[in-house]
């Protein structure tokens, strides 16, 4: 094959990619092999190490991202839970406030009703008391007038004879 290559090269430029000197192929192949050797022995480990490092970095970053994602999801979950609790608490507070307001309204209504009842009862008692007092006053006044009139009648009718009759009646009463 080397001879065939020398033959072709000896023909001169033939428009094909065939060097005119076959040693060029040799040196080129040698150079290639040297370069390839260094590439395989020195370059490839470095590239492999770099790739491995890049891969491990990528994996680490992915893990970190996953962790960050997990953390974020956990935080989101916690925030959601807290938000849920907050919502529940706010709903409970609102419910309690509504209940308190309702109770307050009921209490206020009850107190108002009680106040009205008390005032009504007091008014009725006052009316009864006023009636009673007025009746008592009227009775006392009538009694005073009646007794006064009776006293005047008795005094005017108690002449000497009447006085003596009363005295005799008294003395007789002592004996009985």
């Amino acid at each position: 094959m080397f001879a065939f290559a020398n033959l072709l090269a000896a023909e001169g430029p033939n428009g094909r990619f065939i060097p005119s000197d076959p040693w060029e192929l040799f040196w080129a192949a040698l150079a290639f092999l040297v370069i390839f050797f260094f590439f395989v022995t020195k370059g490839l480990p470095l590239i492999k190490e770099a790739l491995n490092k890049a891969q491990s970095d990528a994996v680490a970053e992915a893990s970190a991202a996953d962790q960050a994602m997990a953390d974020a999801k956990a935080k989101i979950a916690a925030a959601s839970a807290e938000l849920g609790d907050a919502n529940a608490q706010s709903e409970q507070i609102v419910a309690e406030a509504r209940e308190a307001a309702q109770q307050l309204r009921v209490d206020s209504a009850n107190r108002t009703q009680q106040l009205v009842n008390d005032m009504w009862a007091k008014a009725q008692n006052d009316v009864v008391g006023m009636k009673t007092q007025a009746s008592a006053d009227m009775q006392a006044e009538v009694a005073a007038q009646a007794v006064g009139a009776a006293e005047e009648v008795v005094k005017s009718s108690l002449d000497s004879s009447g006085q003596n009759d009363l005295i005799e009646s008294y003395i007789s009463g002592l004996r009985n």
């Binding site: 009775q139 007794v147 006293e151 005295i167 009646s169 008294y170 004996r175």
Partner: protein, 174 residues
């Protein structure tokens, strides 16, 4: 009752006993005492230390002139001269009490709107004796506020038959 009032009553009783007319003198002094108790002007006049004793005695002498025994007038003058005219009513009551006790009797103070006749007084005394079981001396106080009837007080016992009380009961019942 104070010792002073009782002392004057004891002295008056001794005088009345000496005069032999305890009942008469006691009755007159009781009437005078009643008059003093019911007349503020008279009571203040005969107990006013600024008025000379002779003047106060003269006032009482004029009031009793011809209406009371000489012994009664003298006893009243004694009390007035001593400046105890305001106590004359209490002294006369104590004297009446003592006079009655000396005879084993009690004093019955009778209030009446009109004066009682001697017959009524005697029958009243008899009735009270029958009712209370003890002899009584009746002292009558003429009191218009009684209106009619009598109110008798013997010790702590009150027998009220007055028109005033009946009217009061009527007022209370009405």
């Amino acid at each position: 009752m104070s010792d002073r009032v009782q002392g004057y009553a004891d002295a008056m009783f001794a005088v009345a006993t000496a005069e032999g007319d305890v009942r008469g003198i006691s009755d007159e002094l009781f009437a005078v005492g009643r008059a003093v108790d019911t007349n503020d002007d008279l009571r203040s006049t005969i107990s006013d230390a600024r008025i000379p004793a002779e003047r106060r005695i003269q006032i009482m002498d004029d009031l009793l002139d011809g209406k009371a025994r000489q012994a009664t007038t003298g006893l009243v003058s004694m009390v007035v001269a001593a400046g105890r005219g305001a106590d004359l009513g209490k002294i006369a009551s104590a004297l009446a009490e003592k006079a009655a006790q000396s005879q084993g009797k009690q004093v019955a103070t009778v209030r009446s709107a009109v004066a009682l006749s001697d017959d009524q007084r005697n029958r009243l005394a008899d009735a009270l004796r029958a009712k209370l079981g003890t002899d009584v001396d009746v002292n009558v106080i003429q009191d218009p506020s009684v209106v009619g009837g009598l109110v008798t007080t013997v010790g702590d016992t009150v027998i009220d038959g007055s028109v005033r009380t009946r009217l009061s009961r009527l007022r209370e019942s009405l």
